[in-house]
Amino acid sequence: MAQIFHPSMRVVSRASILASLIVIGFIGWVGWDWYRSGYFTGVNVPVEQPVPFSHEHHVNGLGISCGYCHTSVEKAAFAGIPPTHTCMTCHSQIWTGAPMLEPVRASYRTQKPLEWVRVHDLPDFAYFNHSIHVNKGMACQVCHGDVNIMPLTWKSSTLQMAWCLDCHRAPEKYIRPVEEIYNFDYKPPADQIAFGKELVKKYNVQVKQLTDCSICHR
């Protein structure tokens, strides 16, 4: 009786066992990296806007604080996108003819708001509130990164749930005095954990509640 398989199948069949493990491992690795990559999360990817607004220029160059434009950050869930009037407080006086700023002037003329593209978009089932965070010593910088050096705006955090929970499980790692929330030059003390724990106590942050489902998913 003729052989069904060529003798080389001896090696092939054994190698296929190893190969299947490698393939499974490879698929797992690709999946792992994919969901954490900037391509998927948008981290470090600048978002195109109607006007190429530079936080770097306005914050570092001119020294405007976050709260000047994002007015409701200490009082409301939404930090607020400034109306065209806020831009025009300065730009009705300087760079009045700059072609780059034409959409701003057009918006002012026609009374139609600028359509900024959202950079940080949480899913609708997560209820995020800016005011509680900044009032308990969570600085803008902690989540939004070094916005003061961003010529265009991008996300610096994944906004994935594991990232939220990293802090909700141990806020002492990131908390700072409330006076420092707008300070991009803030340096955490060497004993941040001990210091953080003090602040957590001082600001009455109920760490146990922070991982309740209903804290974010209401």
Binding site: I4, F5, R10, S13, W32, Y35, R36, T158, Q160, M161, A162, W163, C164, L165, D166
Partner: protein
Amino acid sequence: MANHHHTDTLERPEPLVAPKETYGTITDKIAGDVLHTKTPKAMMVTLAITSGLLLVFVLSIGAVLLFGPGVWGNNNPVGWAFEITNFVWWVGIGHAGTLISAILLLLHQHWRNAINRFAEAMTLFAVMCAGLFPALHTGRQWLDYWLIPYPNTMGMWVNFRSPLIWDVFAVTTYLTVSFMFWFVGLIPDLAAMRDKSTKHWQKVIYGILAMGWRGSAHHWHRYEMSYLLLAGLATPLVVSVHSVVSFDFAVSLLPGWHATIFPPYFVAGAIYSGFAMVITLMIPARKWYKLESFITDRHLDYMAKIMLATGLIVFYGYLCELFFAYYSGSLYEHFMMKNRIFGPYWWSYWLLIFCNGLTPQLLWFKKVRTNIVLLFIISIVVNVGMWLERFVIVVTSLHRDFLPSSWDMFHPTIWDWGLYLGTIGFFVWLIYMFVRVMPMISIFEIKHLLPWRGRIIDTSADAN
């Protein structure tokens, strides 16, 4: 030894393999049934019905995926009804396979050699049907992979304290081990199939599946060792899987569920229903493929005896439930039992007692156990009874709990029935496909029996 003589004079049992069979005829018959025998007519007719049910199955799944679990009759308080009933029913049916393969192997019950392959295949298919129900019941089926703990971007693990997640582990372990057991046991037979095939493509497929089996002493040595180890692995699963399934209920606080007797009583029920299903499937398969040489009346008699024994344990469980309800002194337990027996679902309870309590008593009689038609009918009644048991436990406990203001009735919809009957179609269809492509009886294990045939086989006679 005296014992041996004694039994010899009493009654000579029917041999486990018909005297006319030899090493050659066994392979020719069982392998030939796959390779050459024309599919029996009766099988083709029932396959048509089964395929119809398979369409109902696809349709019913489609309805749930498209419109959500709202198509079912579930409501508040009956949050799960047919889904969990069917899940437990199917998992239970699967238990016969492992019991036959593993426990009966370790106990040297050689008559298992004729039915283990078939029962293991049945186990695999039953567990597949079972897994479908909770997977569809989640409502967001595309997120079902959340049931598996894996490092994810949510920074979350599954709730390890929930019996429902224990279920996931129990059932997936069960499926994996059962598959391993079934496949490892198939390897020598797949090699026989490879060698008996006449067409090249058949040789290639069976050849790949046989993984280079040449039947050398080395191969057999390793095979025996791994099969024994797998049997050892599978043995605790027979008990553990359905115990874990029963925790879904027992760990909760609902009257009718919160009972310590659940694990043993569920395990007995599982084996009971599993053997009933083996009998239901084996009787027609034996007739259509003329397998009377291998699956003798003695085999059916043994299976019927196991069914009787486990059936009695199950019935004892029902009586215990009655006693517990009385003895607990709890108003809610009293009410639950009264509601179960005389409430709006009274018919399901009484039907259950008829199917599982009274009908198996017929199996005390040898005349009944060896009457094929009667045995077939009883096995179906038991299947129905075991389904009713789960229905009674799930629905009558849920629909009237502590708070009368939340009481409601459960009425199954066409999609509840569609999915249930659909899985039966899917299950039988898979069995048919299995019978057509794999040797449904273990060829080499039947051959093991040849030197033994005609003797009473028990462990003490092993040396003889």
